[in-house]
């Protein structure tokens, strides 16, 4: 095992009495695992509601075209068919919306074409939904869907963002000239230009950040239920938080909030993808209203490849200006970001604002400029995927640094050290507008270099060469801006059976929130860990909720739980004063007990809850229970950071790249549960390795997706995963009560950079300066051959 975890710094004064086994910082196994490991998880498709009908979506097979007709007559006559719905049937509902409030560089509003749930006049990508078929059984619905005749006059298609910007490119929307959704700009162009003009050296790289399939193992699924008597809608669906999803759905259904309920059970992975309303949900809710029955829809994997939003897909020119000593003067990104055929809810964010926030990373970079054209193309819409701009920003910076070091003849470690923000400079106002509250970047860098045994690399490289392999070492420093601000709920409810329920609006889709949240509550209130439950997936229970995303859950829900706990204590003191017959002001809360100060008279919080359940009579005007429904204000963003070091071996005869060693030192602030944090790093790193080495969405010139199944789209498997070293080097955040920073996306940020830098390092013997992701065998082999021929 390669795990090493430092004990966290004390999270609060209450730590000394937290239960040793389940306290903050303990590697507590997850409470849901015994359920999941027996196959007893309740994912959406496991639901079988009485009277449930089944829906199948008819999708466009053309990337771009005008719909001339949809013939449903034959399909309607088929066995078991209950209804077929097209755009005209859904005309009364609202459209899917983009919630990003960015503006064009000239101050004008960005273009946000309305997206109805079903395409009516035009189709704009392969997979664009045009009809929904509902039948008694799934197989009947599939048969009927094949009988729906959709006549489309094809139009030329464009799939690459830069190509969509060219004159004469196919136009997706009449009112979006040039396909530009958003012409984004950040920074002071004149100052940045002046810095570049004065620079002793400028490094420039063109980088393609690959388009990816999110590929959560559970395909999306939903069950829509309309209750005519109550005029009430229920959507059972995976999500990343039911509060936000409900807000979107209320808007689309044009229904009062109290008439819409979202229920989320177990979620089989999401990585940013299941956070929002998708067209199918609107379709099945409508069908349920028409048919008076629950209607279920579950995607198949072929559908997922075109219907789930994709990730990344940026074409970037990165430039780094340095003075003669190697000090960074400015960084400039000029890019195209592919939005696909519609703007997803947070679609434009990754290539714009999140690139700004994350590119500066752990370095003193006085000036920063980002220009990004967010383009419509005839492809599936693009949105958040593990990191959503964070790994991308860090990747651009780290590649530029390695390239600059090579060009200037500087040591790449020394160049990084020279530009690291020092602890004495913190709080540090970055050129991104962010203020870093904490961090010790030089110390983490040193520890990472030591752990990776960089001194021994030359010997390992010789050994690889003896075996005919090229070896490279890559460094990936990262700093991510996590926890996008949002209100979060901290609900605490003392149940009739003696359990205590945490109610919060983040939503665990595999991370395992129940144990760490219970660890936090247990530490705050002394409630036994095993009595604590987590309720997260019922919108009727929530008064706020920012959902899970941007590595925010432990920070946002953690703060909400801490604040709610303080309210429980306040209420408990008032109630305990009646039980203990003392003034509330004389009562202190200590180690799970309400104590009359200076005496040994006390009552435990669980005992007090039991007395309340037993009918304790309390005067009017006093709290009547310990229950709290609290909504915390936004917690500030946090800045997890670290340094990952990867070594690769490349077979020059085949171009096959293998990641042979991987180590990481990470500052996630205080760890609540290091076991789960390590799991997040492992998963993130392998997703990063997947992008670096193999994952890639390809389209042909007609806009057909060529990588539309797991046969064609390479996914990382067990043999692609090196043993991953994980070290925690916590520097607690100062901006939230638990001192956490968030860990969910960091693995990707560290892996993209360290693995790609290692590959370029290995290939540098051929004079290769850069290679784009994915470094597939074909691409690496071709690059080697081209370099050899160039040199010959």
């Amino acid at each position: 095992m390669t795990v090493q975890t430092k004990p966290p710094a004390p999270a609060s004064a209450t730590d000394d009495w937290a239960f040793a086994k389940f306290g903050i910082g303990q590697p507590v196994p997850r409470t849901e695992d015994p359920v999941l490991v027996q196959g007893q998880g309740r994912y959406t498709d496991d639901l079988q509601l009485p009277g449930q009908a089944h829906a199948v979506v008819v999708r466009s097979t053309h990337a771009h075209g005008v719909i001339r007709g949809i013939d449903t007559a034959a399909a309607r006559a088929m066995p078991g068919v209950l209804g077929i719905y097209t755009a005209a049937d859904l005309a009364a509902y609202g459209t899917l919306k983009c919630g990003v409030p960015l503006k064009n560089r000239d101050g004008s509003e960005m273009k946000k074409p309305l997206r109805p749930a079903l395409a009516g006049d035009k189709v704009r990508f392969v997979g664009d939904p045009v009809a929904i078929v509902v039948a008694e059984t799934l197989l009947q619905a599939k048969d009927a869907a094949e009988a729906v005749g959709v006549t489309i006059d094809p139009l030329p298609a464009v799939t690459l963002a830069s190509a969509a910007a060219k004159p004469g490119a196919p136009q997706l929307f009449e009112d979006v000239p040039g396909n530009v959704a958003l012409d984004y700009h950040y920074g002071d162009s004149e100052k940045v230009a002046a810095a570049f003009a004065q620079a002793a050296h400028v490094t420039k790289l063109s980088m393609r950040n690959t388009r990816l399939i999110v590929a959560a193992m559970e395909p999306r699924s939903a069950v829509g239920v309309y209750d005519k008597a109550r005029e009430h809608w229920t959507l059972h669906s995976a999500s990343q938080g039911v509060f936000g999803l409900k807000g979107q759905l209320v808007d689309i259904l044009k229904a009062p909030p109290e008439k819409v309920r979202i229920l989320t059970g177990h979620v089989g992975g999401s990585f940013g993808m299941k956070a929002t309303v998708y067209p199918e949900y609107v379709g099945i809710l409508h069908a349920s209203r028409m048919l008076g029955r629950p209607v279920k829809w579950t995607d198949d994997r072929s559908g997922s490849f075109v219907s789930d939003h994709h990730g990344r897909d940026h074409e970037v020119t990165g430039e780094l200006a340095l003075d003669k000593d190697g000090h960074f003067l400015a960084v400039r990104l000029t890019s195209f970001a592919n939005m696909g055929a519609f703007l997803a809810t947070v679609g434009p964010l990754a290539g714009t604002l999140n690139a700004v926030k994350n590119v500066a990373s752990v370095y003193r970079t006085p000036l920063l400029e980002v220009s990004a054209k967010c383009m419509f193309t005839n492809t599936t819409h693009v949105s958040a995927y593990r990191g959503a701009g964070r790994p991308e920003g860090n990747y651009y910076m780290e590649r530029l640094i390695d390239a600059a070091a090579t060009e200037m003849g500087l040591d790449r470690l020394a160049l990084r050290r020279k530009n690291h923000i020092r602890p004495s400079q913190i709080p540090y106002s970055a050129s991104s507008g962010m203020t870093y509250d904490s961090g010790d970047f030089p110390a983490i860098f040193k520890e990472a270099i030591d752990k990776a045994d960089i001194k021994g690399f030359a010997a390992r490289k010789r050994d690889s060469r003896k075996r005919g392999k090229l070896r490279g070492l890559g460094i990936g420093c990262y700093l991510e801006v996590t926890a996008p601000p949002n209100k979060e709920m901290g609900g605490i409810r003392f149940e009739p059976n003696g359990d205590v329920t945490i109610i919060t609006g983040t939503l665990d889709y595999g991370q395992g929130h129940a144990a760490p949240f219970a660890q936090v509550l247990s530490a705050q209130l002394g409630i036994p860990f095993h009595r604590i439950r987590l309720l997260q997936g019922d919108s009727d229970e929530l008064i706020a909720g920012g959902g899970t995303g941007g590595s925010r859950s432990i920070t946002a829900s953690g703060a909400a739980i801490v604040e709610a706990s303080a309210k429980v204590i306040e209420q408990g003191k008032a109630i305990a004063s009646h039980v203990l017959e003392a003034s509330a002001s004389d009562i202190e809360f200590d180690k799970g007990r309400f104590v009359i100060a200076g005496t040994d008279r006390a009552i435990g919080i669980m005992e007090l809850a039991e007395k309340i359940r037993g009918g304790l009579q309390l005067p009017a005007g006093e709290p009547q229970s310990l229950d709290v429904k609290h909504a915390s204000e936004s917690v500030p963003s946090a800045f997890p950071n670290g340094c990952h070091v990867a070594e690769v071996e490349i077979d020059p005869d085949t171009g096959v790249v293998e990641v042979v060693t991987y180590s990481s030192v990470n500052d996630f602030g205080n760890l609540i549960n290091p076991l789960l944090v390590e799991g997040q790093v492992h998963g993130g790193v392998l997703q990063g390795i997947g992008q670096a080495l193999m994952e890639n969405v390809c389209y042909d010139s007609d806009g057909q997706i060529l990588s539309g199944s797991f046969m064609d789209y390479a996914m990382p498997r067990a043999h692609h995963a090196p043993p991953i070293g994980f070290v925690s080097h916590p520097v607690p955040a100062k901006t939230n009560p638990l001192g956490t920073k968030g860990c969910g996306e960091a693995g990707c940020a560290g892996a993209l950079t360290s693995v790609m830098n290692a590959i370029v390092d290995a290939l540098s013997v051929y004079g290769i300066r850069h290679i784009d992701m994915p470094a597939s065998p074909a691409r690496v082999w071709t690059a080697i051959q081209a370099a050899k021929q160039g040199a010959a």
Partner: protein
Amino acid sequence: MKVELTVNGESRLTEVEPRKSLLDCLRDNFNLNGAHAGCEHGVCGACTVLVDGQPVRSCLMFAVQADGYAITTIEGLTPAPGELSVIQDAFCETHGMQCGYCTPAMVLTAHALLQRNAAPTREEIVESISGNICRCTGYGQIVEAIALAADRLSRANAPQGGAVR
């Protein structure tokens, strides 16, 4: 048409269309939801069940083809109500799952491995789960779980002269 399937040691008669997959039959007809549809083209392994002890993609097998074989699903692996198998327990202990969607298939695959190889090497463990995609864990803690289970099982078997390497 009618088929009689032996699932988790129990003979069950049911009606299926000839084109219905074993996966859909287990889920729809028998309400055994532990086998999950991940890709329906035999590549991801999430639907793995054991057929006569061998891991099989239940999405690629018709229910009617399963007639006459002994089918084991994740629901049949638990030794007794409220108990976990050694392998299941190891998955919980090492954090060998995140979203849990691929997990039943991983556990069944590991079970089949340890039935035929009581002391697998790391490479053998990796090879055995190479047909199962997990998007969440990065596999490290799954491999660790299987190694831990193998170790515990070999210790438990040792007094009876079981295979210990």
